[in-house]
Symmetry: C2
Subunit: 697 residues, 2 copies
């Protein structure tokens, strides 16, 4: 297989994904929507989401501008150490441009996804009047636009940059751009959505005792906007980031092996990535809900079908292009482990299984036991995924090692590529969630009647279940990816060491005090990062609660629900937007700055330990927070379905406390840790040369 052909193939498949996204958009657009009330609210949500994106991208642009200049001047090495302008052009300028395009491509995908999701929500709501199957299809296809756009732009960007620069190190710049955006989109969006959610609940449900989506509540629209910016755009940016990082790490290592041994690993990475996207496209086309099916099964089935298609297509490719069989096995193994981790994670958040049932029962004795038991199961839930990641890394390494020098670590990175290969389908399933969640709200606010709400409820519940699975999948993939970024970091350092004529690194010995030093501090970072995000949510929620109080006090007739009196929703949207971006900065800055400090103190060895500590504690906390949050959410839903006294009972009140605690766990801090891990890994790789040449000890 010729490299150019492989790249062209990747580009063609990426463009096919965009075509698919366009077709899905046209399909959704031509679906019926006639209800004026629904349209009005949906438009409010759309405009709120766009406001957030605009502000987010504005602030990001400033941040990226500064980063652009820093990269231009310092990376991969200081501009004054480059021999001539050509070197500056093909290194510093190329990398800083790669960075900018990383942010732009990811931002573009987010914009497309939000654009369609905020149309699909109303279509899904109205389709529910015609039955569950068409409503499902609207929700799913709306989400699939995000899936196609994200993976299409990610693969397109990587392929283009590799083609132009022929230097995989430049991809680290592209990947860092994607990470920067993900930090804003995922963590910022996470703060946004939970600020609105908690504030709306605290004043609405707790203080005034009004319903969830009561239109009098000024924070309700912000809450619905939050679903879109946090769960559609944020999650998409997160997986864009992971996908790019997995490809970048694999390509750095593949190129290093290929240049030494005249093999074809770079081609293989591109072909496999493209086939993953192709499988997702096929999976999306055929995803439907049969007459007798339930939506959860339909979503899961499409994942399994995509997995199967991918396994067959890569088998053919391996046969046809004579790729290494061992690498094929590793790829499929990575994907399978991902699916298994997803399924095991489901056990801890599914309301048909013991943990949710026990937590619901414990809620009868008050909120303290809800929290204690949920925390306990949350801690327990980390075990299968941690073992899964550990085993897949270990086995991939062992399987790939006999292929020769460099293959062992490359094996791990290929397992990560395999795990993330069907990410197009994963995102489609995931973005389905907030769309049907929005649709449920619209059905209620638009007065579509009980039957329709029941249908959207069922779709929404499927979204929650599937979300837990995809989250486990995403966290595991991030863990594996970052292990391969660690390997990429070594490649980077050693290439630089040869050039500088200094000693490179063999590995990171835990008994080396610099490594251990890094290990401990790296492990603390995800905890502190989460802490800062959650404190940000608290602070921002305080502001919004004050605003809601003000409106209920000052707007005559609002509390009483007088006809025609509307709350000033835009004020709440402004608070959520500005607060989210402001509160995000300390957390992001902390993660980046401490990485640089550790590197400057202990050099590349300290950074190796730092990244390892960061991965293990990051994966641990991310799994804990995502799973316990999902568990509390479903525990509340289980009680609301009529168990342990049902809605309004003491058990329900306790479960609501659990759900509220779980909100920032599962939607702000937990999933943002993924991004934090990738960001610090990339900072480390980008500063590799600087840490190699200067450190205190």
């Amino acid at each position: 297989m010729n490299l150019t052909l492989a790249i062209v193939f990747s580009i063609v498949i990426s463009l096919a994904a965009f075509l698919m996204a366009g077709w899905l958009y046209l399909w959704i657009k031509k679906q019926d929507s006639s209800n004026v009330k629904i349209k009005t609210i949906s438009d409010l949500i759309k405009s709120g989401a766009n406001t957030f994106l605009r502000k987010e991208y504005t602030i990001l642009a400033k941040f990226a501008g500064v980063a652009f200049i820093l990269i231009l001047v310092f990376l991969p090495k200081p501009i004054w150490n480059q021999p001539d302008f050509n070197a500056i052009l093909s290194n510093n300028i190329a990398m800083s441009l790669a960075y900018v395009f990383g942010t732009v491509f990811s931002g573009m995908a987010g914009k497309i996804g939000i654009f369609v999701a905020t149309i699909a929500n109303k279509k899904t709501a109205e389709a529910a009047t015609r039955g569950i199957a068409p409503s499902f299809l609207n929700g799913f296809r709306g989400g699939a636009v995000m899936g196609m756009a994200v993976v299409g732009s990610s693969l397109l960007g990587v392929a283009l940059f590799f083609w132009i620069t022929e230097n995989p190190t430049m991809l680290l710049g592209f990947s860092f751009g994607a990470s920067s955006l993900a930090l804003f989109a995922k963590a910022g969006g996470g703060i946004y959505t939970k600020t609105a959610d908690i504030s709306a609940d605290l004043v609405g449900k707790v203080e005034l005792g009004i319903a969830e989506d009561d239109p009098r509540n000024p924070a309700v629209i912000a809450d619905n906007v939050g679903d879109n910016v946090g769960d559609v755009a944020g999650m998409g940016a997160d997986l864009f980031d992971s996908h790019v990082a997995s490809l970048a790490a694999a390509l750095v290592m593949a190129a290093s092996i290929d240049s030494a041994s005249n093999s074809h690993n770079v081609e293989m990475v591109f072909i496999f990535a493209a086939l993953g996207l192709l499988s997702s496209i096929i999976g999306v086309v055929f995803a439907k809900m049969g007459k007798k099916e339930n939506p959860t099964r339909a979503l899961n089935l499409s994942t399994y079908i995509t997995t199967g298609i991918f396994a067959v297509l890569t088998l053919l490719a391996t046969f046809l292009f004579k790729f290494e069989w061992r690498l094929y096995i590793v790829t499929v193994l990575g994907l399978l482990v991902g699916v298994i981790i997803g399924i095991t994670t489901d056990y801890f958040t599914n309301d048909e299984k013991t943990p949710v049932r026990k937590v619901a029962k414990a809620s009868e004795s008050g909120p303290a036991l809800t929290i204690i038991s949920g925390t306990s199961y949350g801690f327990l839930s980390v075990l299968p995924a941690m073992i899964g990641i550990a085993i897949s890394a270990f086995i991939s390494y062992k399987i790939a090692a006999p292929l020769g020098d460099g293959y062992a670590l490359f094996g791990i990175s290929i397992a990560a590529v395999g795990m993330l290969s069907i990410v197009g389908m994963i995102i489609s399933n995931d973005a389905y969630g907030p769309i049907v969640d929005n649709a449920r709200g619209l059905a209620e606010m638009g007065g579509l009647g009980e039957d329709v709400i029941r249908i959207t409820d069922e779709l929404d519940s499927a979204g929650n279940t599937v979300k837990a699975v995809t989250k486990g999948f995403a966290i595991a993939a991030a863990g594996l990816t970052v292990i391969s970024l660690l390997a990429a970091f070594i490649s980077e350092v050693n290439d630089a060491a040869i050039e500088l004529g200094v000693a490179g690194i063999e590995g990171f010995d835990i008994m080396n005090p610099a490594v251990f030093f890094g290990l401990l501090i790296g492990a603390a970072v995800p905890a502190v990062f989460s802490s800062l995000l959650m404190l940000g949510v608290n602070k921002n929620a305080e502001r919004m609660v004050a605003e809601i109080h003000r409106q209920f006090d000052e707007i005559p007739g609002l509390k009483e629900g007088l006809e025609g009196v509307m709350p000033e929703s835009d004020k709440c949207i402004d608070i959520a937007t500005e607060g989210a971006l402001k509160e995000l900065l300390p957390a992001g800055a902390f993660a980046i700055i401490i990485t640089i400090i550790v590197g400057l103190i202990g050099g590349v060895h300290a950074i190796g330990g730092f990244l390892a500590g960061n991965i293990v504690s990051g994966v641990l906390l991310a799994l804990f927070m995502s799973n316990s949050g999902g568990l509390w959410d479903n525990g509340k839903k289980y009680i609301e379905a009529g168990h342990h006294g049902g809605k309004g009972s003491d058990a329900h009140k306790a479960a609501v406390v659990g759900d509220t605690v779980g909100d920032p766990f599962k939607d702000t801090a937990g999933p943002s840790i993924n991004t934090q891990i990738t960001v610090v890994s990339l900072v480390a790789s980008l500063f590799a040369v600087i840490f190699l040449t200067f450190h205190l000890f």
Copy 2:
């Protein structure tokens, strides 16, 4: 300095500690106590605590019996691989006996401590009628008996076994014995105390709205027993374990250096450890509360004085006996870092500082925000201690390294010895807490009047503040100790490798997949361990709540408080006792078995990673849980002092939820993780030869 002299000096100081404990006991015994009601209740507590200890030691004896046989047959290497009976005697038999004595010495110290603490509680209560200073002195001296007994037996045991066997590896057996007991005492005691506490609160405070220590509540005595078995005996066993482990690790490395270079490091370790105990004895003698002082300051002052005395005495010893100056610096550095970590930890749990104040304020918006903000600060609180441990390990290594081969890692172990040198004083301060806590309950139940309760309240509050400091100290010391156990593990493996003629290990490279495999799984263990303990508390509390309900339903006149009607407290004590020991087993077994599985799969490299992952995630979670628990406790107390609406307000109710969640965090799971880390490290060291000779990959 002659080795025999150094050992004799250690033994003499240990015996002096016992004399001191005896003198303190006699002093306490001759203090006034005349109130019959108080005596009756105090006797109930004493007998409950003894029941628990008896059952605990009975179950432990079975466990230890099995372990004894296993060690005898298999460790340090299988009995059939030993050349002759002499080798069996001086290895397998010596180690299995060392194991048994490790449990016996620690158990003895616990027994002495409980014996005096359950007398000191009533003396402290009655002394409060004469003023705060005499009451303080009773509480402190009662706690100091535990301090003296623990460190006296720990140093005595280590010195005797080293003297007899002349083989530091045998100390690992002694240390493992101490760990086994600590597992039962700390984790079992932790389940006990929180079962009783939560059950008493749930039925008493929450359901019936009666006061904390209301004598009608059948769980009240069990709750007071829990303070003793969890906080006196459990905490003592935990620190006995850490102290022995730090000495064992240091001696293993010192002996290895000394045999290669004819230096005097073993002597130094003994002399420094003895001087630490001597400093604590002096500190205890002079600890008093001045007229104008407050109890917190008195406790802290005694710690600082002891620290100062230790620094001066070791300075003199270093000068006199020509020990290495670099090692002196490392020792004092370790101690100073411990003190600094304690002080920083205090920031997060002190009700005069921001975190507690903010959490108290957040409680106004309901329990969900209490939990979210407390969790956030808890996560934040890990940073100073993690950085402190990282820096002290890094710097100790760098300072000691120039002394020659083996000194670098020995430096870390000496820092741990330094940090734990004043542990006699730390335990005295810590055991003071449950004694004055008990005294407060006795003062209330014995009707000693408002003034006396106010005094015991003040003493109790000082106990809480100091406890947070000592916990930070203990966790940090455990972290540092286990790093040196990791180094001891390498020594073990390499000695065995030479003997077996196989390759030893240089270190643990994170990029080695076996190491990374271990790292991930090791990191998951403390989370799962905590989870199992907390689920155990929940399960056990369910049983006890059912029993309390039964008594209120079936005993006529109990609920109404008829004169002469007493609850059947012993039933609750039985449930707490049996449940605690039963629920503890899965957690303990899990930790031990997974260590062995990882070792058998990935060999010594996987174990190296496993231990490192276990330390970082263990220290992280232990700090998080201990600190957030302390924070919630003090947040509740702050509100009860009249802020944010005071007792009975909504903020108070929310803070009570936080406090209840924090209970198993800070008193069951958090501090038990210390023990889990040590147990796992010792299992690894003991099985070193087996993992070296047999593993799957």
